[in-house]
């Protein structure tokens, strides 16, 4: 994946973050694609594999504010959105912003939060605003949520339904580091200190501009038709109970555009789509039986349609 990336700025960011997060190039790229295509990312992985480090390093490298929510089942919506507190001096209610009002928000173990809190969070993600005590506060731009969930230890959790998972542009897993990379981590010790001292590569304005540019990347009808055919097939497939939504289609095109931009092109090619589909699509579908993996089903569908040209 990294070898296809031609955009210098992006390469710089990747190598910069990569210094602190050895062997996590793919996760970094995918996160960046999510950020730049204005989406959010769900990382499903075991604890201690660098989810937090990824979030912190991204915020540092992009010079964005960082907030963190550690979800528990007694977490209230106001704990993340913020709340109004009566100020004795002014005699008014004063809004105390919660961790959600940052550029990059790490929502750790989202499945441990109650559905009420979860929906508040997801609403904020979708609307890019929070409403507290009847007043609406715009979230800062860019706004990017990195939610994590632990695939094991599901006892006492509230797993996100697919309809809510659909709101995440991608669902990825970081995976264990390579042996060499892990060795280096052990040798050098935790790099949390260095993370906080990372210098910024991009400024906020630049990021917003880059996001706009990505939206303008050209996508040919040939590719759109091909994506539509793919979406249609997921809806008709015997193995799939719930196929892809239109939002999923949008996510596919947005991420492909971002990837195309990363690769130094101003048009989308089929490979942009194909490479991202395993991260963008599987969490949005429901299979009829759980004996096959969602990814395999998706890939088998993809192999059965002819790619343009």
């Amino acid at each position: 994946m990294i070898e296809r990336i031609k955009n210098q700025k992006i390469l710089q960011i990747i190598s910069h973050i990569g210094e602190c997060l050895q062997g996590k190039d793919r996760a970094i790229i995918l996160s960046l694609i999510s950020i730049f295509s204005r989406g959010h990312i769900l990382i499903e992985d075991f604890p201690g594999l660098g989810k937090t480090s990824l979030a912190i390093s991204l915020s540092k490298a992009l010079n964005l504010s960082f907030g963190r929510v550690q979800c528990t089942n007694d977490l209230l919506p106001t704990d993340i959105t913020g709340l109004s507190i009566f100020n004795k001096n002014t005699g008014e209610f004063e809004f105390k912003p919660g961790p959600l009002l940052n550029n990059i928000v790490l929502v750790d173990e989202i499945n441990r939060a109650t559905p009420k809190t979860q929906s508040a969070l997801l609403e904020a993600m979708a609307e890019e605003q929070v409403t507290v005590d009847g007043r609406t506060y715009k979230l800062p731009k860019p706004f990017f949520v990195i939610a994590t969930q632990n695939p094991i230890e599901i006892y006492g959790t509230f797993p996100l339904p697919e309809s809510q998972l659909d709101r995440f542009m991608m669902k990825i897993s970081i995976g264990y580091p390579e042996k060499e990379a892990e060795k280096k981590i052990l040798q050098e010790g935790s790099s949390r200190e260095r993370l906080y001292s990372l210098t910024a590569i991009m400024e906020k304005d630049e990021i917003l501009k880059f996001q706009d540019e990505i939206r303008k990347v050209y996508i040919s009808d040939k590719i759109i038709n091909w994506i539509l055919e793919f979406i249609n097939l997921t809806r008709q497939d015997d193995r799939i109970l719930l196929g892809l939504s239109t939002r999923a289609g949008l996510a596919i095109t947005y991420t492909a555009k971002a990837y195309a931009k990363f690769c130094g092109r101003d048009y989308v090619i089929p490979e942009d789509v194909k490479e991202l589909i395993p991260f963008v699509v599987p969490h949005r579908i429901i299979l009829k039986d759980e004996f096959v993996s969602k990814e395999e089903v998706i890939i088998s569908i993809l192999q059965n349609i002819s790619t343009p040209p």
């Binding site: 040919s220 048009y267 090619i269 089929p270 993809l302 790619t307």
Partner: protein
């Protein structure tokens, strides 16, 4: 689909029954010509072979071989050395059936097919009608199919055959067989042939279609039981009572046989309705030509007229003969003074017959009454082909004992009675009736239509009387007649003369008419080929197709689900890969941006493709 796969065991059964069927096809062709013992033995052995096949038992091969060798030698041991052909064919039939008893490998099957073909070929010595052609076609298709299947099974490694393969083998067999027909038709037309059979194997046809100048009483019966076609007559449809085909006239009766001794041509005058027609006569053993009663003229070479109303060829070629003739129907033959020979009686004619005659005609006052009373008397007798009168004086046996017989006895009895009464009478041999084919416009006359009738001289005229109650055969299914007629007139009558005719007719230019018909398909072909070429050129001009074809040349084929970059990432040769990447980049830049390909782009892509091709070579 339950028939998707066929196990080998079942396929072997298929081949067995296929071979069985092939043998049956040729056997049915030979059934009527060989003795019933052989037919019975063949059927018995075939049934036995099915049993053995089902039980998977095979008798020891040496016994079967010994039997086969014996059967081969047998025809030479028969007493009659004259007719060696029939015993040979019979042995062939039996050898074929015995082949079915052995353990069958592909070698045995091939033997079976060869023997079947030989048998069918030998059946053509007896009878070559269009049915033969049909049998040959069926056998050809089935044999080719069986051989293909055998060959396929020999090469087979899996334990079963796909049913679709079976179907495609069948299609191939039909294709090969049907393709071979126009080819053989072509050879049939161009290969030289002589007017005489190439091989005279001394086998005379069983049918005795001709009348010789002597007819023994009872000999016509043999002919009447034979259903072979004797001739076809192209003529307008006539009333049944006019359907008398005259061949020969007999004048002298010696008590047992009618003979023709009197040839004197007298002055006769014929009045009647004139009618022209064409006769196609099957090969005859005798030289007399049938004509519609009463003939005036026959137009063909080398013929002799014999009084009264008979035509004879000087030599018979042993081939079918076609001739035009003219006759008069509803005729009256005037003759002033008929010869005394028409009143002569055999020396052994008994008084019983004379007395009977007198008794019958006692009430008659004139000659016409006499004739009527004789006809009336004979109408009480029964027409039959079985249990015919016998003995030295069979006519007495007919008149007094049996009181039934076929046309010979009726005609003879009447002629004798007339002569006893002093009325000149003669017996005419020929055919009566025929089946009219209204589509083809011709009569089919069979040997079974053979007939004898009487002509008597009354009041200066010869009149026809038919004392026997023989019925005219009913109409037959005309469709087969047409095929039969076409087969005969196209295939069997095709000889060197027809070859010349065809060759001549080809030369006759009919171009003005044909040109317009030819021009349309020609243009269509032209347009079609133009489109093909155009598409091909266009395809080659399309850089992407050119790219794929180059890559294919160097062993890289793109899968349908692969994107271009995905495809070239599989290339392991670096120079080729670089060039391919270059091309893909340039191409995608146009294609996925939905840009129109400009001339310059094409040029550029063409150059890259050339480089790519070179990189592949090195």
């Amino acid at each position: 689909m339950p028939l998707r796969y066929i196990t080998l065991n079942r396929a072997e059964n298929y081949i067995f029954f296929l071979s069985f069927f092939i043998a049956t096809v040729s056997f049915t062709a030979i059934i009527p010509h060989i003795s019933s013992y052989v037919n019975f033995a063949f059927i018995l052995i075939m049934i036995l072979s099915i049993l053995l096949h089902v039980k998977k038992i095979s008798p020891p091969i040496w016994i079967l071989n010994a039997i086969s060798v014996f059967l081969i030698i047998m025809p030479f041991l028969t007493l009659s050395h004259e007719d060696i052909l029939l015993p040979s064919i019979e042995s062939l039939t039996l050898i074929l059936s015995i082949r079915f008893l052995t353990k069958k490998t592909s070698r045995e099957y091939l033997q079976i097919y060869l023997l079947s073909l030989l048998l069918l070929g030998s059946s053509s010595l007896f009878d070559i009608s269009w049915i033969f052609f049909l049998r040959l076609l069926i056998m050809l298709i089935l044999t080719v199919f069986a051989i293909l299947l055998l060959a396929y099974m020999k090469e087979l490694t899996e334990g079963s055959i796909d049913f679709t393969i079976l179907l495609s083998l069948m299609k191939l067999a039909i294709f090969i067989s049907v393709l071979s027909i126009p080819l053989s038709a072509f050879f049939f037309i161009i290969l030289p042939r002589t007017p005489f059979p190439l091989m005279d194997i001394g086998f005379s046809p069983k049918t005795k279609t001709g009348f010789s100048s002597t007819v023994n009483l009872g000999s016509i019966r043999e002919i009447e039981e034979d259903n072979t076609i004797v001739m076809r007559v192209k003529i307008k449809q006539l009333p049944d009572e006019e359907l008398y085909w005259r061949i020969i006239t007999f004048d002298t009766f010696d008590g047992n046989a009618w003979q023709r001794k009197f040839f004197k041509s007298d002055r006769i005058k014929i009045r009647g309705e004139r009618i022209d027609y064409t006769i196609i006569l099957e090969p005859l053993t005798e030289n007399y030509l049938p004509t519609l009663d009463y003939p005036i003229d026959v137009f063909t070479k080398n013929i002799v007229y014999e009084y009264p109303g008979s035509y004879r060829v000087i030599f018979s070629s042993g081939k079918a003969l076609k001739y035009d003739a003219t006759s008069r129907i509803k005729y009256q033959i005037y003759e002033d003074r008929p010869s005394e020979v028409y009143l002569s009686l055999p020396y052994n004619i008994s008084d019983r017959v004379r007395m009977l005659t007198e008794q019958i005609t006692s009430k008659a006052v004139n000659q016409r009454d006499t004739v009527e009373s004789i006809l009336n008397f004979l109408s009480n007798y029964q027409y039959s082909l079985r249990d015919l009168p016998v003995g030295d004086n069979s006519i007495e046996d007919f008149l007094f004992n049996k009181k039934k017989g076929n046309c010979e006895y009726f005609a003879t009895a009447m002629a004798i009675m007339l002569r006893i009464k002093g009325i000149p009478a003669r017996v005419v041999g020929g055919f009566k009736g025929g089946t009219y084919n209204s589509i083809g416009g011709y009569y089919v006359v069979r040997a079974s239509d053979a007939h004898l009738w009487v002509e008597a001289w009354l009041d200066g005229k010869w009149l026809r009387f038919d004392p026997s109650g023989k019925f005219i055969q009913t109409r037959e299914f005309f469709f087969f007649h047409i095929i039969d007629y076409l087969w005969n007139s196209i295939v069997l009558e095709y000889d060197i003369k027809a070859q010349f005719r065809l060759a001549k007719s080809i030369k006759i230019p009919k171009i003005e008419f044909n040109l317009w018909i030819l021009i349309l398909p020609f243009f269509l072909i032209l347009i079609y080929s133009f489109l093909k070429v155009y598409r091909h050129v266009k395809l080659m001009r399309d850089p992407l197709n050119r790219f794929f074809s180059i890559m294919k040349k160097y062993g890289y084929e793109r899968k349908k689900n692969q994107g271009l970059e995905e495809f070239i990432s599989t290339i392991d040769k670096l120079p080729l890969k670089q060039k391919a990447e270059w091309f893909v980049k340039e191409f995608q830049d146009i294609y996925f941006k939905d840009r129109k390909i400009e001339k310059e782009d094409l040029k550029k892509l063409k150059i890259i493709l050339e480089r790519l091709n070179e990189a592949g070579k090195s």
